[in-house]
Symmetry: C3
Subunit: 359 residues, 3 copies
């Protein structure tokens, strides 16, 4: 069976920070706009074969785009940057090949009531920021990685792989794919182990990757990055409470970023209220950092369609340069490109409201 | 419900003008080749949610492409440049967000028996030409605009929005999306009001936009553009008669283009004969302009599939530089790039025949 | 009726040649990863209309890509580079317009038990190599050509056009689409005639094209290329035996490449063993050339899904620069870019194993 699926999400947003501001038609304020094709074949004997092709959309301008990490389409064409996998599943679990979300990213999504979308996305600050964040060719903090082989246990076959059942495990390795003798830049190895049962879900991830060389790494030709992330949620009926703590670090001095957060999803009428507080602190000389507080409301018109509104406030500390990143490889206000290099970004606010439909 | 839809149109065409000529495998000679995904969800209480993702195709070379206006994919990748919208509709009308055809473009399509496709497309000359036409970043004369919010009254929900029922209204605003303080280049506001009843359809559009600054506008950092278009059609049974009159103008002196046209679609056997005369005149010192006459035949093999042929003659007046533009972001002969800058283009002919199937 | 179809194929491969090596997540090791949309409409009276839009996939990185020949998307966006056609079929055969596989390429696929995919692809060496092969703008050796008009006899309507029934014929012409007076670079004319009946299938192709000018062709502005290919297969029940012989030549001296090969597909359990030997020899001063031997196993898990493994050995002769090309516009190890220009490539091995599912 083959299914066509996706999300189209658009709204109006207003971002302002450091004296700059932008009003825009935004996308992916509640969920990442996407278009995909997936299928499953029962092979008998408990075995099944699967594929999943999922493209990000920037529907405000009609473009396709990846998640911005090793973006497979650099000029706006549709590409399956969110996922491109083939897999085989059985009693042994699932073996999956291709481009997919790495184990080290899932906690950022699962324990964020905003699912890393819109002004309130926790990943605005917890993904690292600066040279240790989305910038550069460091696969560690990426939300999607190419050229991977993956093993999963405790998930439904071909699942979107966020929350498993009972004890669940994800292991991923990405090949550097450099010719013999070249530094293994781009290599990634990571894992995630969790438990989901009753009201509780908790998961721990650890990953290690090799990126472009910093000055101190020039001899060996690559830098190393590490991340860990421990997150959990507990459902008390009227609300789902969430917390996470983690760190990103690299082999360059002063590039460790510690982050933590508390959040909740509170049931309210035909929808819910997402609330989140996140903080990050770097171990550089000036101890740069940021905190973010965000709230919203999601009003479900149906199981597939919702209206939403959210507001978020980022406060940079010291020389922090954290700002609103947008999700889904686009939709961000791009204010950081208007700041001069090295300028502290100050404080900022983001507001958004829109409609999301899925199919 | 989700539907896959589209058009694949290809044929052989011959264009010649100003001593140059080209024979080519052409696309979109009758209708714009496209591939799309759209869906509708009934939310109850008269409300419904909708999405529409539509990509242009250059099937002669296997490429995707937008409509050439703020093209979302600059390197041939598939992108939803024709439309990328999510909307909610009810008794109040429809509110639609994303990339779509602006109100100021629809009259060019609806009152052209060639639907702006192939050698006979009236938009070859009526869209303005030169710096006031497709060229530059002037959103006014674009057939598609990004970052819009739109209101419609009198149309079916999620309609392709050409002809409404009774009194119909379209209002659109496009955000410039420049950071605070920057000139509002790219901003667009336009509307269209019409009436369709019995044999009559008539519609008036007006739009205003801000584009890149001409010399005279350097201080404020943007130019302004205005267009209006009045068109109508009347069905006499054996034929549908059409007429339109309009103008494009900008804040630069001598860039007003007045255009008008008369046309008909004459029923003939299992198909019809499209006939059109269009003219344009610029208010510059040399009073440049052009006229175009076009005729064709469309032979319907079924409701979805047709064979077609058409011929068109463009006569430039004075230093006019009007030529065959092709439709759908491609398929044009590109003769203008072979002329030297500033050379009057003389007269030219275009012939095409092909097959169009839709699904 | 409209159908969504495709292939997702991924595996792990190891290539090594001339002292370099690469381990990678590979795609299209057994069949070309692809995504397509096709449809058929019965027009009555024996007539039918058809379309076929097929995109290549690089699912290891989530990108779309063409077949590398006149690639319609140069930056990773999805494009219908494998095929973009509309056609009309009847008792007279089929007339097809758009981008498609040329007659001169089909024998490379049909009489290769690896179907030009993975390490064992015969086209690694038989497509020519060097300036007469994939390199340059020579449409002759391309596996896909744009701007074509095609006639087919003996094939099912809208067929993938590999093996016909009884006597079958394919004729194709591609327009150069250069403005009047410019050299006809890109023009292609080719044909293929074959017979398929009982256990026997045999086909002969010939094509002629015009490419970029070599030094000797500077005056007329284009070079000419010619190819012929005679291939056949015979089914003896337990196996299908195959052979082919052919040549690529151009108007530049010393660029004729003669190739031949013997191969078999041997039934084995729920699958088959592909075996192939291919050789090529150039008529230049140093008589460069190469031979390749390849073997594999394809284990069918179902009619749609298979596990596969293959191994291949290329031995360059004299200054030969043949290497593993990968299929489907990507997936190749790219070792040739790591060699210095003009360096003989020596001998090399390629291994791959993976999973392919189709839908």
């Amino acid at each position: 069976s083959v299914a066509l699926f996706g999300v189209v999400d658009a709204g109006v947003a207003r971002y302002s920070q450091g004296g700059l501001g932008k009003t825009m038609l935004d996308t992916s304020g509640l969920g990442p706009s996407s278009l995909g094709f997936r299928g499953t074949e029962d092979l008998g004997g408990g075995l099944s074969a699967h594929f999943w092709l999922e493209a990000a959309l920037l529907n405000d301008v009609g473009a396709g785009s990846s998640s911005g990490n090793g973006n497979p389409s650099t000029n706006g064409g549709l590409a399956f940057g969110r996922r491109g996998t083939v897999s085989i599943a059985g009693r042994f679990g699932e073996v999956r090949l291709g481009r997919d979300t790495p184990p080290s990213w899932w906690n950022h999504v699962v324990f964020d009531p905003f699912f890393t979308a819109g002004p309130g996305s926790g990943a605005n600050i917890t993904s690292g920021g600066g040279a240790n964040g989305f910038a550069g060719a460091n696969p560690l903090s990426f939300s999607r990685i190419s050229n991977t082989i993956q093993y999963q246990w405790g998930f439904a076959p071909n699942a979107q792989s966020a929350i498993g059942r009972g004890v669940y495990v994800q292991l991923m390795h990405a090949f550097a794919e450099n010719a013999g003798g070249a530094p293994a830049r781009g290599q990634y190895s990571g894992g995630r182990i969790g438990y989901a049962g009753g009201p509780l879900n908790v998961a721990l991830s650890y990953a290690r990757s090799k990126g472009p060389a910093y000055a101190a790494d020039a001899a060996r030709g690559y830098s190393t990055f590490e991340s860990f992330n421990l997150g959990g949620s507990y459902d008390i009926g009227a609300a789902r409470l969430m917390a996470h703590v983690g760190a990103n670090d690299s082999s360059a001095p002063g590039t460790r970023h510690d982050h933590w957060g508390l959040a909740a999803t509170i049931n309210a009428g035909p929808g819910y209220i997402p609330l989140a507080y996140n903080a990050v602190r770097q171990n550089n000389a000036t101890r740069d950092g940021a905190s973010q507080i965000a709230a919203g409301y999601v009003y479900n018109l149906s199981r597939r369609t919702a209206l939403y509104a959210s507001a978020s406030y980022i406060r940079n500390r010291n020389n922090g340069t954290y700002t609103f990143l947008g999700g889904n490889g686009g939709g961000q206000p791009g204010l950081q490109t208007a700041f001069g290099a090295g300028t502290p970004f100050g404080s900022g606010t983001g507001y958004g409201m829109g409609i999301r439909t899925s199919f």
